[in-house]
């Protein structure tokens, strides 16, 4: 009996032309699909696409917000990518982000009157430490008890959310805040200095770019980074070569946790300015998409974080300016991601029709 089926076969080398064409094709397909949707909804497609894709880049006020949005995504995704390449799957960055925010907020909450230029750097450092400490639990469990870090990091995020809620309705509640679940507003010195006058973009963007450079050097140029990558690709071979798997787990989770905690600290000390429930806004999960979209490569992640930030800001703009319902915004964002992933798969693989002769029992 002749059987025919289709199979994905990895290309021996991806052509550069196709690699550049893929994202453009993905964007065009998305635009066509959503064009039809907007016509059916009675919206002017040109206005929607302008608000969604062009305005975030050409309007300075929107682009500054893109940079602001991109900062935590970039910080977290770079940290996560290191672990992902070592095959340590930390999906609990959201919890580590929240702990970073909590640790950073401890200074303005406990000493709201303190002044001095040391406060915001100390908050960022504390935030990073808080995030790393939250990642100690899954690292220890994975190394000592062989518990899946995927499950443990995820569950630690749920605990972090509850810890945040407890602090905000309990000991850290603003005494003058009418029982609303939020801390005091941070004092001036507990907020990050702005680097672009007239915007909300703060020093965290510089930190994120320096962090990106550091990650690139670490992963592409250092022996330790090489060991992590090889460990992810071929765990048995690395064990044979004498590289410790436990060490890779510790390094991956601590770096990922530190980066997420730093991002959390920068978020409360940056655009929010107080500890509140909306700290947990999903950056930790979005950063997973950012990391994989960027091919787990530090430079790729720089671009993917920018792209995702543009999509977020553009989606919000479209809601405001063209009254596009939020569901349609999500459809656009989702369809672009799906099209991009499909395109990138076709760059790396080709579809082959396989015909086999098979005797059926």
């Amino acid at each position: 009996m002749l059987l025919s089926r289709y199979q994905l076969v990895r290309r021996s080398s991806a052509s550069r032309r196709v690699a550049i064409l893929a994202p453009i094709t993905a964007l065009l397909v998305t635009i066509v699909l959503n064009f039809v949707l907007y016509i059916a909804m009675g919206k002017a497609p040109a206005a929607v696409f302008y608000a969604m894709l062009v305005e975030p880049v050409v309007s300075w006020s929107s682009f500054s917000e893109v940079l602001l949005k991109m900062t935590p995504l970039l910080l977290i995704a770079q940290g996560l990518a290191i672990g992902f390449r070592a095959n340590v799957i930390n999906i609990g960055a959201e919890g580590q982000f929240i702990l970073g925010a909590i640790f950073a907020a401890s200074i303005p909450v406990w000493v709201p009157q303190a002044t001095g230029g040391w406060i915001w750097p100390a908050m960022l450092l504390l935030g990073g430490i808080g995030g790393a400490l939250w990642a100690v639990v899954p690292a220890f469990w994975r190394v000592r008890l062989n518990a899946s870090e995927i499950l443990v990091t995820l569950m630690m995020s749920l605990i972090a959310t509850q810890l945040l809620a407890y602090l905000l309705v309990g000991p850290w509640k603003d005494p003058m805040g009418f029982n609303f679940p939020q801390s005091v507003m941070f004092q001036l010195d507990a907020t990050l200095p702005l680097i672009i006058p007239g915007t909300r973009v703060n020093v965290a963007l510089i930190l994120a770019l320096v962090w990106t450079l550091g990650c690139w050097v670490y992963m592409q140029r250092s022996f330790q980074g090489y060991k992590l990558i090889v460990g992810g690709l071929a765990p048995h071979a690395t064990a044979y070569a004498g590289f410790s798997e436990g060490r890779a787990v510790w390094i991956s989770l601590l770096i990922g946790g530190f980066a997420a905690g730093l991002a959390g600290a920068a978020e409360v000390a940056g655009p929010i300015g107080q500890l509140q429930r909306s700290v947990a806004s999903g950056y930790g999960y979005s950063a997973i998409i950012v990391a994989y979209l960027g091919g787990l490569n530090p430079i790729g992640i720089l671009f993917s974080s920018l792209l995702i930030a543009i999509l977020y800001i553009g989606g919000d703009n479209a809601m405001v300016s063209t009254e596009l319902p939020i569901a349609a915004v999500r459809v656009f964002q989702g369809s672009l991601l799906v099209c991009y992933l499909a395109a990138i798969t076709l760059v790396r693989y080709r579809i082959v029709r396989v015909v086999t002769t098979e005797a059926r029992a």
Binding site: V169, G170, P181, R200
Partner: protein, 366 residues
């Protein structure tokens, strides 16, 4: 803008000035451009609930002004930096009337009001006031007192329950009034509370309702849920149910006790009128039954006639001001004196109420 709150807000305001200058040519609207009214909501706009009540409140404004106004509703906007940006963008687009539909928008909306003197802002459930910034809230407790009377009248166990969102004064007073209303009919009535710590978490709300019913509560007060989550559980479990903001009778054909509904339209219409004639002035708008904003609707037919008579009498007393809800003597949860006999809580004490009355069995989360 008077004293800036911190460096960031100051820089933001200078930013806005620069931004406004840069955008000025594109904002050169014709004289007869419609007034852009933007309503920002924290949860998805459904057929019922908080957001629906606010959206419906703008309908009479549309009807009155026709193409002189243009209403944009932005739903499911998370409180925090995103909401700040979205509201700023809306104002930068030329919309001059902002309804910020959640407490959590307070800081961002207040900054916008300070930076844009020509914009009028209404802010739900807050406590800050500025010349062009009006916080507004409904006296839900007036409605829930009446619902509490009805609840005690139909309850067999005398145990009532409430699924509540956040332990903020607005919701605490709703529960307190519900308990006091119940005690006016049955002095032994008790109210148990489950705080779900979310404005929108239907699954958790349903779990909470089931837990209360399992504890013997046979009337449930759905306190600030945006979907019929609790209402649906109660109808299926055979417990009476009442709620806030907009009627959910359609979801509980047999067990719906009534709704402490809010009709924002008189307030919105007045505020938009004021914006048009230039007399908009920020003030604390605390609106109740006498303002025609708060009203219990869809009373159940199961409420005994004698109880209904007492309810109607109390309602008339609330409207006339002769029988305020928080009139002493009121005991606190621990038995100590909350309000002395002959005294009554003032509005500013009610909006800051952070204690439960006797008969509410669950301690406040703290």
């Amino acid at each position: 803008m008077t004293s800036p709150m911190n460096r960031r807000s100051f820089l933001r305001s200078t930013a806005a000035a620069g931004l406004a200058a840069g955008l000025a040519p594109s904002l050169a609207f014709a004289q007869d451009a419609p007034l852009g009214i933007t309503l920002v909501l924290p949860s998805p706009l459904g057929d019922v609930g908080w957001g629906r009540a606010l959206a419906d409140g703008l309908e009479p404004v549309k009807a009155a002004y026709g193409d002189k106004v243009k209403v944009t509703i932005l739903e499911n906007i998370m409180e925090g930096p995103d909401a700040d940006r979205i509201m700023t963008k809306s104002v930068a687009d030329g919309n001059k009337f902002l309804v910020a539909g959640s407490f959590g928008y307070q800081n961002g909306a207040l900054q916008i009001a300070r930076r844009n003197a020509d914009v009028s802002v209404l802010h739900a459930s807050g406590f800050m006031v500025a010349p062009n910034f009006t916080p507004f809230a409904a006296k839900n407790f007036e409605g829930t007192y009446l619902l509490g009377m009805a609840a005690a009248a139909v309850s067999k166990t005398g145990k009532l329950g409430s699924v509540s969102a956040f332990a903020i004064p607005e919701l605490i007073t709703s529960i307190n009034a519900f308990a006091m209303g119940a005690q006016a009919i049955n002095p032994a009535a008790e109210v148990a509370v489950v705080w779900v710590n979310s404005w929108f978490d239907p699954a958790k709300e349903q779990e909470a309702a089931k837990a209360l019913i399992a504890q013997g509560c046979d009337v449930i007060f759905s306190n600030a849920q945006d979907t019929p989550s609790v209402v649906d559980v109660c109808e299926k479990s055979g417990a009476y149910v009442c709620n806030l903001n907009s009627s959910m009778k359609a979801y509980a054909a047999t067990k719906y006790l009534g709704c402490a509904a809010t009709d924002w339209s008189p307030f919105f219409l007045e505020a938009v009128n004021a914006h048009f004639d230039g007399s908009f002035k920020g003030h604390n708008a605390f609106l109740g039954t006498a303002d025609k904003v708060e009203k219990v609707i869809d009373w159940s037919a199961d409420i005994p006639a004698d109880a209904m008579e007492k309810i109607k009498a109390k309602e008339a007393g609330i409207i006339s001001g002769e029988a305020p809800v928080f009139a002493g003597p009121i005991s606190r949860q621990d038995g100590s004196e909350g309000v002395a006999a002959g005294a009554a809580l003032k509005d500013e004490e009610i909006v800051a109420m952070d204690w439960h009355v006797e008969g509410v069995t669950t301690p406040l989360p703290n």
